[in-house]
C-alpha cells in the first residue's frame, strides 16, 4: 500500500505572521513550484469581480429613480463609443457626446454653477454602490452654499473628459464628474471624482483635481464629500482647478 500523501500546501506558511504588515499576497505557500489551489482560486475570484465590473452596465432606470429625490432634472446621455469594446479601444470616442446627447444638452436651461456628471467609466458597479449615498451628503451642502446645480447627467460609455463638453454645453462654471475607476484585484467598486473649473473641450488632466478610491472600504463618502466641498469652494475662490489648486487645509 502506498504511503499516504500529505498536501504540503495545506501546511501553515511560516511567514503567515507577516500578513499583518501588508495586503500583498504573501505567505500563500507552494505546491511544487506552484501556487496552491486555495490561493489560486482566490486570485481568480478577485479577477472575475474586476472583469464583471468592467463589463457592468449602468442601470439608468434605477439611478434615475433614486436620483429623483434631489428634485433636479436627470438626463440620460450616451458617448460616441457605442459598445464596451469600442469604449476600451477608442478613448477619444468616450470623451465625446453622441448626437442625441448633444441635442439633449443643448436644449437645457443653462447657466448653473456646478454640473454633476455621472459616468460608468471602467466600473458601473462603482457608481451603483457609491453615487447616491455620496450625493445625499453633497447636494444639500452645495445648495446650502447657494450654488445653483445643473441637471444631473448620467453618461453611458463615458470618460472623464466628457464632463468638459457637458459643462460647456450647460454653461456651468465647474464640472464635477463621478466615474467608475479601473477595477483592481482588491476592489472593483472604487469611484473617482474629478473637478474642472471653466470646463470646455480640449482640457488636459493637469486642469483637474481628482479624488480617488471613493468606496466603503477606501475613502468613505463623508470624507470624500468634505474634500470635494473644500475643493469646490477653493476653486470658486481662486477661479481655477488643476495642479495650481493645492490642498492647503491638509484635507487631501
Amino acid at each position: 500500500m502506498a504511503d499516504e500523501v500529505t498536501n504540503e500546501s495545506s501546511f501553515t506558511d511560516p511567514l503567515s505572521f507577516l500578513k499583518a504588515f501588508t495586503a500583498a499576497r504573501i505567505a500563500i505557500g507552494h505546491t511544487g513550484a506552484s501556487i496552491p489551489i486555495k490561493a489560486s482560486l482566490e486570485f481568480k475570484l478577485a479577477h472575475a469581480h474586476a472583469r464583471d465590473a468592467v463589463y457592468s452596465a449602468m442601470d439608468m432606470e434605477m439611478l434615475t429613480d433614486r436620483l429623483a429625490q434631489f428634485n433636479l432634472p436627470v438626463l440620460s446621455l450616451q458617448s460616441r463609443a457605442e459598445s464596451r469594446a469600442s469604449y476600451l479601444q477608442r478613448p477619444d470616442l468616450g470623451r465625446l457626446l453622441d448626437q442625441s446627447a448633444k441635442d439633449i444638452v443643448e436644449n437645457q436651461v443653462s447657466g448653473a454653477e456646478v454640473s454633476i456628471v455621472i459616468a460608468d467609466g471602467l466600473s458601473a458597479l462603482a457608481i451603483h454602490e457609491n453615487i447616491v449615498g455620496l450625493l445625499e451628503l453633497l447636494i444639500p451642502k452645495l445648495q446650502a452654499a447657494n450654488l445653483r446645480l445643473a441637471p444631473i447627467c448620467l453618461v453611458q460609455q463615458g470618460r472623464v473628459a466628457i464632463g468638459d463638453e457637458i459643462g460647456k454645453g450647460l454653461q456651468a462654471v465647474l464640472s464635477l464628474v463621478f466615474i467608475g475607476e479601473r477595477p483592481g484585484l482588491s476592489a472593483a467598486d472604487s469611484m473617482g471624482a474629478y473637478l474642472t473649473y471653466h470646463p470646455r473641450p480640449g482640457l488636459a488632466d493637469d486642469s483637474r483635481n481628482c479624488i480617488s478610491n471613493i468606496r466603503a472600504g477606501g475613502l468613505p463618502a463623508d470624507l470624500a464629500v468634505t474634500k470635494i466641498f473644500y475643493l469646490i469652494q477653493e476653486a470658486f475662490k481662486r477661479k481655477l482647478t488643476g495642479i495650481h489648486l493645492k490642498d492647503n487645509a491638509g484635507l487631501l
Binding site: 507577516l18 501588508t22 500563500i28 481568480k44 479577477h47 472583469r51 468592467v54 477608442r90 471602467l122
Partner: protein
C-alpha cells in the same frame, strides 16, 4: 521616398518609410487609435512585401523622425557603427530576416552587429517575423551585465523582486522582500516603485533594502524607481543608490513629457557611477520602456508604436544598463488590446532589444480592462523563457497592490526555471544554497524560512 507594391493589379503605395513601417505592423489597437494601421489584411501584407525588398542602407538615409528635430534620431545616426554594418550592408530587410535565422549566424556574430543595426532596422525586420522567428533569433543572443552579480548568462533566469506597498510602509515592504527571497526571487534587483516620489520617502526605502542586503550578505542590487532627478539629489546626499532608474521612450518629445533628456540621463549615469558600489561590474542603469508611451504623450510623430519603442533602446544602449524591461501590458487595451497583442508586442520588444545588445527583461503583465488573464501570461512567460529573456518581475501572488495590475509571481519564476532547466544568477544561487533556502536541485527547502526568519526580528519592530 515612395515605396510601391502591386498585388493582383492593385498598386499599393506608401509615401515614406515611416508610413510603410506602420502599415507593415501586425495589428494592435494603439496603431489603429493613431490612425496608422493598414486598412485591410491585404494592405498589411503588401506593406510587409514592400518592406522585405527595401535595402537596409535606406534606413541610414531616411529617418522616420527628422534628424534636426529629435535628439533620439541624432543619437541613432551618430552612434551607428559603419564598420560592423559592412557585414549586412548589402541586405534587404527580408534578406536580413533570413540571415538572422541561419545557423552560422550565431551568438558571436550577433554580438558583433549590436551597434550596426539601428532600432528602425530591428523594428522593420521584426515586422516580417513570426513569433517563432522572434524567439529563435533572440535565443541566440546573449547580453550579460554585472553589478554585485551576473545577469543574462545562458541557462540562467532572474527575477526582479517587486515588493511594492501603497503607502511605502517599511514593514509591509520588508515582509514582501522576505517572502520573495524565500522563493529565490530578487537576483535581477530588489526594485520598489515608491508610492511617493519625495526624496525623504525614497531615501527611507533605499536604506531599508540596503540594510537587509548587508545583514544577510546577499549578492544583489537594489533600486527605488524614482525619477532620475530625485535619484541624483539622493546621490548627492550619499544615499545608498545601487541602480539608477528611469522610464524612457523613443522620441525626444515623449522623453520631455517624462522630464528627461539625454544630457540629464548622462548626468544621472555619471553620478551613479561615481558611487562605485558595484563589486563585480559597473552596469548601473535600470530603464523601463513600453509600446504606446509615445502615443500616450501625443509625441509619436506618426511613427507606429513598436518602431517608437525600439528607438528608445538606442537611449538605453548608450548608458550600458544593468537591466531594461518593457512594461508591456501595463499601458492598457487602447494600445494592446488582448493577450494576443500583448504576447506579440513582448516578443518583439525582447527580440529588438537583444539584437541591439540590451539586457532585456519583460514585465509580463496586464490590467483588468485588457482582454487577458493568467493563462495568457503563462503563455508569454513560457515563450520568453524559451527566447532567453534575462528576467521577469516577482510580485507576491502576481498582484501589485500599489500599481494595481497583475504581473508574474515569485512562483512563476520558479516554474520557469523548473520546466526549462534554468537557474538563478550564479552568485545568488550560491547564496540561496548557503542559506538553505533552496537545495541543489533548485527546489524550495522546507527549512529555509526558519533559517532566515530567525534573524529578521528587528525588521518587524521598525516604524
Amino acid at each position: 521616398m515612395v515605396y510601391q507594391h502591386t498585388i493582383r493589379g492593385k498598386v499599393y503605395s506608401f509615401d515614406n518609410l515611416r508610413v510603410l513601417l506602420a502599415k507593415a505592423s501586425p495589428f494592435r489597437t494603439g496603431d489603429a487609435l493613431a490612425g496608422l494601421s493598414a486598412d485591410t489584411y491585404e494592405e498589411r501584407v503588401a506593406a510587409q512585401m514592400t518592406l522585405a525588398d527595401i535595402p537596409l542602407k535606406i534606413f541610414l538615409d531616411e529617418a522616420v523622425i527628422p534628424y534636426e528635430i529629435d535628439e533620439v534620431t541624432r543619437l541613432i545616426i551618430d552612434s551607428h557603427d559603419p564598420e560592423g554594418f559592412k557585414t549586412i550592408s548589402s541586405f534587404t530587410v527580408g534578406e536580413l530576416r533570413d540571415w538572422l535565422l541561419r545557423e552560422d549566424t550565431d551568438t558571436i556574430v550577433l554580438k558583433c552587429l549590436e551597434a550596426s543595426i539601428t532600432p528602425e532596422m530591428a523594428a522593420a525586420v521584426s515586422k516580417l517575423m513570426r513569433n517563432q522567428d522572434l524567439i529563435a533569433v533572440a535565443q541566440k543572443c546573449e547580453v550579460v551585465t554585472r553589478f554585485r552579480n551576473t545577469i543574462g548568462l545562458k541557462g540562467r533566469f532572474s527575477a526582479r523582486l517587486q515588493p511594492n506597498h501603497p503607502t511605502d510602509d517599511p514593514r509591509g515592504v520588508a515582509a514582501s522582500i522576505i517572502d520573495g527571497l524565500l522563493y529565490g526571487s530578487g537576483d535581477a534587483v530588489i526594485g520598489i516603485n515608491p508610492a511617493s516620489d519625495s526624496p525623504a520617502a525614497v531615501m527611507k526605502l533605499l536604506v531599508l533594502i540596503d540594510n537587509i542586503r548587508q545583514q544577510f550578505n546577499i549578492p544583489i542590487q537594489s533600486c527605488v524607481l524614482s525619477h532620475v532627478t530625485t535619484t541624483i539629489d539622493l546621490i548627492h546626499q550619499n544615499a545608498p543608490v545601487d541602480l539608477c532608474f528611469q522610464s524612457i521612450a523613443g522620441t525626444e518629445t515623449a522623453n520631455t513629457s517624462f522630464g528627461v533628456n539625454l544630457s540629464l540621463l548622462e548626468e544621472a549615469w555619471q553620478a551613479t557611477l561615481s558611487l562605485n558600489r558595484g563589486t563585480i561590474g559597473n552596469n548601473v542603469m535600470y530603464f523601463e520602456t513600453g509600446q504606446g508611451s509615445e502615443l500616450s504623450a501625443n509625441a509619436h510623430h506618426g511613427v507606429d508604436q513598436q518602431t517608437c519603442e525600439a528607438r528608445g533602446y538606442a537611449i538605453a544602449r548608450k548608458f550600458k544598463p544593468m537591466l531594461v524591461n518593457s512594461v508591456v501590458g501595463f499601458i492598457g487595451p487602447e494600445y494592446l488590446y488582448d493577450g494576443k497583442q500583448i504576447i506579440r508586442a513582448a516578443l518583439e520588444d525582447h527580440f529588438c532589444a537583444k539584437l541591439l545588445g540590451l539586457p532585456m527583461g519583460v514585465d509580463v503583465c496586464y490590467t483588468n480592462h485588457a482582454e487577458a488573464d493568467q493563462d495568457d501570461m503563462d503563455n508569454l512567460l513560457t515563450l520568453l523563457g524559451v527566447a532567453g529573456c534575462n528576467f521577469i518581475m516577482g510580485i507576491p501572488g502576481s498582484d501589485d497592490i500599489m500599481l494595481n495590475y497583475q504581473s508574474t509571481s515569485f512562483h512563476d519564476a520558479l516554474y520557469l526555471r523548473k520546466v526549462l532547466g534554468l537557474r538563478p544568477a550564479p552568485e545568488f544561487e550560491q547564496w540561496l544554497l548557503q542559506q538553505g533556502i533552496t537545495d541543489a536541485k533548485g527546489n524550495i527547502s522546507p527549512s529555509g524560512p526558519g533559517m532566515l526568519l530567525s534573524k529578521t526580528a528587528p525588521l518587524w519592530l521598525m516604524k
